[in-house]
Symmetry: C3
Subunit: 193 residues, 3 copies
Amino acid sequence: MAPLRSAAIIFALGFGVGLAGDACHVASGTTTYEWDGVPEIWKSRAWFPFLVAGAVLLAAWSGRQAGLPERRVRGPVDVVIGAAVVLALYALTAVLRGQPATVSVVLTGAIAVAVWAWWDPSAGALAIAAAAAVAGPLAEIVLVELDAASYAADSDDLGGVAPWLPCLYFAAGAVASGMWRAIEAGQGSQSRR
Amino acid sequence: MAPLRSAAIIFALGFGVGLAGDACHVASGTTTYEWDGVPEIWKSRAWFPFLVAGAVLLAAWSGRQAGLPERRVRGPVDVVIGAAVVLALYALTAVLRGQPATVSVVLTGAIAVAVWAWWDPSAGALAIAAAAAVAGPLAEIVLVELDAASYAADSDDLGGVAPWLPCLYFAAGAVASGMWRAIEAGQGSQSRR
Amino acid sequence: MAPLRSAAIIFALGFGVGLAGDACHVASGTTTYEWDGVPEIWKSRAWFPFLVAGAVLLAAWSGRQAGLPERRVRGPVDVVIGAAVVLALYALTAVLRGQPATVSVVLTGAIAVAVWAWWDPSAGALAIAAAAAVAGPLAEIVLVELDAASYAADSDDLGGVAPWLPCLYFAAGAVASGMWRAIEAGQGSQSRR
């Protein structure tokens, strides 16, 4: 039961953060959905939050399976802070619409590095963060090519997606990499009580 | 003497944060004072910082009286960080003027949750934060109804006040809930030395 | 070798943060280089990142030489977080272009106080932060007087430089004050392993 419960919590967190963050991007006009083949949830087409939740779960599962040593052991409260910080960064990228790419990339990049170093400055977290920073934007470039969605003309300089997108995925990947273990740590401490 | 000293410190912090944060809202045009029956302090009518300071003191006193267990014990340095973080969030809401409500509410809400979970992720802090998130905006709605002040037309969607206002009060309430004990902890550690 | 290595790391960090932060200010139009007597690196004239790196190294060396007691002992990971947070604040000041001075000064000032209190809430760090908050803007005022560079007309209210500039230098000075010891702490812990 415990692994299923951890997976469900992580999926729900990824779903919620993806949905709320995406609502910011749609509200700011940063992104627009082009393909209307599935129903809407809040401001997103339904496929989006499921994709994000699946990706977060994959990153969390990879972090657990890799078993690389953490440099900071995290617990359930940290999961709340980590998810909130990533959502705040997500919403911030909506606020940055219209800023020069230099400004938005340096700001989100500096925050992303701080998030990784704060959450767990380990090689394992870095590897998953870096993988997310490559795979996430690549997946979104494919979605834009397929005409499922598009970025605004002032926010599409990275092959059709926003130049700060790797920074957002980097921060999300860093936090996700330790989520499974952080949630399990909480279950452990509760059963020990 | 010690309780009086703690109360005075908390009142002064609430007064200062309220005054500086309100100056941001007046400067950004987010809020305007309508009733000029009392003198101004900086950009505020004098009644405002006293109200805020009293509310902060009440929240801090409630947190102390309730005696609910903290999950993180805080000290005087944390009081400085907590007050500075709440003031930064206050000023950020001024910067967010003109942003879609979705963006400003998700951004300030995510930061508010992170502040609570960082400061003291306890049920007691959550209860006082939630009470502040309801009572603060309600009090401001009454003040707007009484024509004492008003929010700009682009920032008054929550019954005449800004939609992100509960998030700001939530963060302030969370930090205030533990302030009395954090200051007393400092007095204790100093007398123990 | 160890002191030279620490100095090189600090110089490189100051150089990198100065270069990336300055690129934000040039991109946002907050600052403009007037004197083109030296080549450009990224968006800066070459003298700027060297000046910043030297100033950071001086602040770090002062913190080490003063030998005042730290209230929080920092290590290499903290150096990464501290440098990233200062760079994020630097980039944020570019985003704040066009905001009323009240808003930008209160926001950056609150963040700067939080950075000091988080990094090392000691009297020594405060003294170096305060010295940086005075000396840094003064040096930039001289550079503006010498027509080496200029601030935009909406961002030059402090004798020709931006009113939030002391806050940025305060945060940078606070973090720099403990960098040398934080890096040495890492070398110590690695050799102990």
